[in-house]
């Protein structure tokens, strides 16, 4: 395709075509330009990220666990979770060729439990974080953008949630609302948003006063336009880096709640496997194969999310980049 050139001479720059047939070139829409710019900046961040060893290792570990969770039915049959399944072995047997991680008190394969547990643990982590990010971003943006009494009220609420000890609050809420997966997800989501709200508000405050936002406002842009087009795209990357670290915290929280007996009795997560094992006296009996795999799974997933989060933070946070 021929590229039209700007003619340098003349009164006004006119688009001229170098060829015989003038091809109708539609000017790129602002949206397309924006997306092209976003794609470029994403690729730039990715290029920096790829050179970050810690971040890449985190990504590899995560990819492994996500693959395990997604393909769980292909790796281990779901029937293996049923204590009455014919596929169960002798209870409490140590690792063997047939049961690489040994068996639990029902003779179920600990490997199967760990594989299927990854689904619940990851889903709780992801959905709870999604909830907390939505709440945190909304409150942060409204507080930062509107200012005034709504900012005072919202930040007071944020401070309150920030001060209240997380685990006791979650314990009380789950005890009162009942033990189901939905309740656990909501409770973790609803109690872990304040840090996001603070970060977002601070960023909104700094973006709000930048000249291009003021210019846009002077041109008559409304609140929705300003927030959607100018503020959110600038706050987005920061929210993303924050999200990654929050997922790690949510997974740890779920495991602690499940271990305290507040998990969903109908679904198996790494935390509930540990609770069963501890409740059945696996520690006293030295049944390490029942305790180590789910615990190490938590450690690796949390480590991976944290490593990715640190790496992203280093790239997106200009203060840290210079060091």
């Amino acid at each position: 395709m021929r590229i039209p050139e700007l003619q340098p001479k003349g009164d006004a720059p006119v688009l001229v075509d170098a060829g015989d047939v003038p091809p109708p070139i539609a000017p790129k829409s602002p949206r397309a330009i924006t997306w092209a710019r976003r794609k470029r900046s994403f690729l730039r961040v990715w290029a920096v990220y790829r050179s970050n060893k810690m971040g890449m290792w985190g990504l590899y570990i995560l990819a492994f666990f996500i693959a395990v969770a997604v393909f769980a039915p292909l790796i281990a049959s779901k029937e293996g979770l049923d204590p009455t399944c014919a596929c169960t072995g002798t209870p409490f047997s140590p690792p063997s060729l047939h049961f690489p991680f040994g068996t639990d008190n029902f003779g179920r394969s600990v490997l199967t439990l760990t594989i299927w547990g990854s689904r619940i643990s990851l889903v709780v982590g992801l959905v709870a974080t999604l909830i907390s990010i939505v709440i945190g971003s909304l409150i942060g943006i409204i507080a930062g953008y509107r200012g005034g009494w709504s900012e005072t009220a919202l930040m007071r609420l944020t401070d309150w949630f920030l001060v209240i000890p997380f685990l006791p609050l979650a314990i009380v809420l789950v005890s009162v609302l009942g033990r189901s997966l939905a309740v656990i997800i909501i409770v973790i989501g609803v109690t872990s948003w304040p840090s996001t709200a603070r970060v977002v508000r601070a960023q909104v405050l700094s973006v709000k006063t930048r000249p291009y936002v003021e210019r846009s406002r002077a041109l008559g842009a409304g609140s929705w336009h300003l927030i959607g087009r100018h503020i959110l795209p600038n706050v987005g990357p920061l929210i993303f880096a924050n999200t990654i670290i929050l997922i790690a915290i949510a997974i740890l929280s779920e495991s602690a709640l499940a271990f305290l007996g507040l998990g969903d009795p109908l679904s198996i997560s790494w935390g509930t496997v540990l609770e069963f094992a501890f409740g059945a006296g696996a520690a006293g009996a030295g049944q390490w194969w029942w305790l180590v795999p789910p615990g190490l799974a938590i450690v690796f997933v949390v480590l991976a999310f944290t490593m990715c989060g640190f790496a992203l933070d280093e790239i997106l946070n200009p203060k840290l980049r210079e060091r």
Binding site: I164, S175, V299, L303, R323
Partner: protein, 329 residues
């Protein structure tokens, strides 16, 4: 802003947060599934309609909500949290009171130990940052952070209980003291410390990473400051630069974290106390969960929250004295 105004603002803020906790606690108790009066009488021989009506009246559940709230606030201020469901007839305040000391002993000592060890690791890591020691300690810190502390506790428990490999069963793995041994005085103290060894170790390791990393980062920050360059230019000894110029300044952020963590002296070891059957507030919390003992849970939550709120206030006030710049902010 004047100091007095700053302090007043902080105190007001803390009080407001406490009131918020009271509201929350009050309404939570009203939405629990099932009738509290029925729960109170559950399983006892006295379960009949007449007693149920009596219990409802005793709990004040027949009065309108605003009245109930006033009664609730009055009760809370006089430390009357009602009766425990599962320890029938015992007031919540005394049930909680009995368990405070073991928790404070365990969490208090391990907080102090982890602060000291964490500071030392952080100082050496930050001073020689990039060194093998620094990288190793950072890796360890990251790993300790990613580890659910209760899982670490279980693994330690297993090693010492079962005697895996080279680890013999050196320490008792559960409880506060040897039951029915009738020990007193010094031998009793030794017995308690012996029981405390494992949970103390687990908590110390679980906490120290945070202190190490904060100390390290703030020391690295300070070492880049101009006055350190000046000190170097004056030809001061390295030791002097580290201990007289850098460390005292870098201590400030770490101090705040230590003060804030004092707020968790009651609630910081819930899972660990459960793992090692350490009869403190965390263990009591698990009992309350298992037995659906809502009044007990409510009392514990109030205590846990109040401790954190007060620690926050103390940290704010102390910090404003140590670093007057924050008052201006």
């Amino acid at each position: 802003m004047g100091t007095r105004k700053y302090l007043l603002g902080k105190i007001l803020q803390a009080l407001l947060t406490l009131v918020f906790v009271l509201f929350f606690n009050f309404f939570l108790f009203r939405v629990i599934p099932g009738d509290p009066a029925a729960l109170l009488l559950r399983g006892s021989a006295a379960f009949n309609p007449q007693n149920l009506a009596q219990a409802t009246q005793d709990l004040g559940l027949d009065k309108p909500l605003p009245t109930q709230f006033v009664v609730y606030v009055k009760d809370t201020l006089t430390l009357n949290f009602g009766q425990s469901f599962y320890l029938r007839g015992q007031p919540v305040s005394s049930v909680i009171g009995n368990k405070i000391w073991p928790t404070v002993l365990l969490v208090g000592t391990s907080t102090i130990a982890s602060t000291i060890i964490g500071l030392i690791i952080g100082i050496y890591g930050g001073w020689k940052h990039g060194s093998t020691f620094d990288v190793t300690s950072l890796g360890f810190t990251l790993f300790a952070y990613a580890m659910p502390e209760f899982w670490f506790g279980i693994i330690i428990l297993m090693m010492f209980a079962g005697g895996v490999g080279i680890f013999p069963s050196l320490f008792p793995t559960g409880g506060y003291e040897t039951p029915a041994a009738g020990l007193t005085g010094f031998s009793h103290a030794v017995d308690v410390l012996n029981h405390m060894a494992l949970p103390f170790f687990v908590l110390t390791v679980a906490y120290l990473g945070e202190y190490a990393i904060i100390m390290r980062n703030s020391l690295i920050d300070i070492l880049g400051d101009d006055f350190i360059v000046t000190a170097r230019a004056k030809g001061l000894r390295e030791k002097e630069i580290l201990w007289r110029h850098s460390v005292p300044n870098a201590l400030l952020p770490t101090m705040t974290v230590t003060l804030l963590s004092l707020g968790f002296v009651f609630s910081g070891a819930i899972t660990i106390e459960y793992v090692f059957s350490w009869p403190g507030l965390g263990w009591l919390t698990v009992q309350a969960i298992d037995n659906k003992d809502f009044p007990l849970l409510q009392g514990l939550f109030l205590l846990f929250s109040a401790a954190v709120i007060i620690a926050n206030l103390v940290a704010d006030v102390l910090y404003s004295y140590l670093d007057p710049r924050v008052r201006a902010a």
